[in-house]
């Protein structure tokens, strides 16, 4: 390989953000097959510096999109999992109480010496004021994910996972971070991001998000993929699978999605199933094999019960 070829390739790889097609290729190079709409959303987010709110049912690759983007841009990924009761002391910062306590102890010991020389109360107060207040200062600050993301010098990918699981109050608190990339700490003032991070929020629609939050984000809904896209995804994620088996498997999963199930299988289940079949050295789908491995794609007893009698029919329905 010549030197010029290498540089040309790195130049192309270095800036996958230049166009939507570049992004699709770039994501494919880190094993994420993106539809055009996903790539466009990402492209817009980069160019407008806005967070992306990714919605979709469980397992369609919402979190994976953020992970892949971080890999593509070679940026660190800071992940914050939301849950009920998450508050700013866990998301943003916390004071190092233990150290603060030690500091006050030291201060108390030193205080005796310093103030012993003072004759009057006024003089003692003047000395006290002169000592400088370290109690609430950066050294005592314990940064949590949001703060770490703002402090990254080269920027990072910040993934705020399952934002719908958090409380409304926390959502309101996020608004400042998402729109201005800064946070206010009452004791210290405003801390602004060194390089604005690249923010992904994911939501499973457990509850409706507030309009204020939605308005600050680009909205991306990832639907279940069509057969062609899903085949590509399976082929990328499970390279060992034979293409014929991959086709059969995707067709079967696609037909499952048309049934009325409590939880239709999503992409992650398809990929898991493909991996399982590769492990079992299967070369094609037959009813017995499907029956044995059905629990990989269906997560509810009722669903399995409903599908089992139809397996043969579903397998026949697939296109040859």
């Amino acid at each position: 390989m010549t030197v010029s070829a290498t540089t040309a390739r790195t130049a192309a790889a270095a800036n996958p953000l230049a166009s939507v097609d570049g992004l699709i290729e770039g994501l494919a190079s880190v094993d994420y097959i993106a539809s055009r709409r996903i790539a466009t959303a990402l492209y817009m987010a980069v160019n407008l510096q806005k967070p992306i709110l990714v919605e979709g049912s469980a397992g369609v690759g919402k979190t994976e999109l953020a992970l892949s983007t971080a890999r593509l841009l070679r940026l660190p990924l800071i992940r914050m999992q939301c849950y009920e009761g998450l508050d700013e002391s866990k998301a943003l910062y916390e004071w190092k109480y233990g150290k603060q306590l030690l500091y006050t102890q030291i201060l108390k010991d030193r205080l005796g010496d310093t103030l012993a020389e003072a004759n009057t109360m006024d003089e003692a107060m003047a000395r006290l004021h002169g000592m400088g207040d370290l109690f609430f200062s950066e050294p005592f600050l314990e940064p949590r994910p949001l703060m770490r993301a703002l402090n990254e010098d080269a920027g990072c990918v910040l993934l705020i996972d399952e934002i719908d699981k958090s409380d409304e109050a926390f959502e309101a608190f996020l608004l400042e971070v998402l729109s201005a990339y800064q946070v206010s700490i009452p004791e210290l003032g405003v801390i602004t991001a060194k390089t604005p991070p690249f923010v992904f929020l994911t939501s499973n629609n457990v509850r409706d998000l507030g309009d204020a939050l939605k308005r600050r984000c680009l909205h991306l809904h990832i639907p279940l993929p069509d057969a062609a896209l899903e085949e590509k995804i399976v082929a990328t994620r499970v390279p060992d699978i034979e293409s014929r088996l991959g086709k059969e498997l995707v067709a079967f999963v696609q037909s499952l999605r048309t049934l009325d199930l409590r939880k239709a299988p999503s992409i992650s289940e398809t990929v898991d199933w493909a991996r399982a079949l590769v492990l079992l050295h299967a070369s094609s789908l037959d009813p017995a094999l499907v029956k044995d491995t059905l629990n990989v794609i269906l997560k509810f007893e009722q669903d399995i019960g409903a599908v089992e009698p139809q397996i043969v029919e579903l397998l026949q329905r697939r296109p040859t």
């Binding site: 817009m44 407008l48 009761g85 308005r215 909205h219």
Partner: protein, 457 residues
Amino acid sequence: MQRQLEEFIRALRAADVRVSPAEAIDAARALTVTGYGDRELFKDALCVSLAKSPDEVARFDQVFETFFTREPLSAGAPPPQSAAREGEAQEGQPPSSEATQGSPLAQMLLSGDAAALAQAMEEAAQRAGVAEIRLSTQRSRMTRRLLEEMGIGEIEQIIAAAKRQAEGRALAERLDERRKGLVAEAQAYVERQHSLYAAGSAKSLREEMLAKKALNADGGIDPVDLAMMQALVKRMAKRLADRYSRRRHIANKGHLDVRKTLRKSMAHGGVPFEIEWKLKKIEKPSIVAICDVSKSVAAAAQFLLTFLYSLNEVVDRLDAFAFSGRLISVNDILDEHGVEAAILKVLTAIGFQQTDYGKALEDFCDEHLDRLDRHTTVIILGDGRSNFAEPRLDLMKQIHDRSRSVIWLNPEPESYWNQGDSVMHRYERFCHVAKHCNTLAQLERIVEDVLRTYVPH
């Protein structure tokens, strides 16, 4: 293009996609990044910045297709064989071009220039303000105005003039044919604009009317409106559920508040003497709802039950009862069945009999009085018409004394209370709130107040 974008956003709003001014600015900024060249990119860029939920994405797609799709006008494109014939005709009749000299529209029509016609129609539509259309009744007037702006008056004059001359007859016929085509196109155009801007607003107008419509109006609710009404009730309940569940979660915090504890400990030399907890207590409302389903409230009963049903999904601790002659608990029915089936079951089980408030209260006090404590809010939905039976005010007093608050919602207006067999005013003494409530909007407001654990005194 800026104007086009504004129009498009207005169309989106009409289709119930909420677009704030800030989002509109974002969309414009997004377009400066993507440009207008690639239709797919253009659409996706607008979609990610404007549509905020899967539902809105679907509506966005629909509006986008209607808005940005311009079918080529067929009025301008003559079928090939007639074009050939036309060529001969034109050769034979040079005066025809003279006759149409004054009207660019007539020339466009005759030459079959579809693109020019489409553009002329767009421009005329802008001048005529077709996009301002609001009501379906405006359609024919808008069509006429659009055609006039395009210069159809001249065409008509030319046709009239041509008809008077023998040699102009062919031209007149040809032009008349084209004119008809043009009118049809204009109608289709206005129709499209109407579906873009007005169809949605008509629906929301209708919903608003429904929310304000009296539940016990003559003949009850129109069956046509029934589905819409039920959707409305469901949406209200969902809204309440959203708000309510969020409040409740705040109370689920019982962590040590380190910051406060440390601050308090300063006074004791750093020894955490007083422990502070992050605690915010919100009392959960517990609700007992008693619903009258007798003949006198027949029209309203269905919706009172629908609301009871929705409420049951929202509030954790809701006990629902229904009565006409006797009183039964309907908790199981509401839990186990879908909304329509549940209402039907309740009505067949107990509905449409003679009301007997005294008997119903007696049943309640005998069997379920222990359900009431000082946290309970009792909601009674009924008209207070007891068919001249003993109203058992003593039992009502007992309920009043045991519970935190009693709210009576009466579908009849206050002027009817105490007329005929109504004993509403006598019951009213034992209610914290007695309100006239016969529209969905009122119902929602009151239930929301209850959820806010508002204690009326």
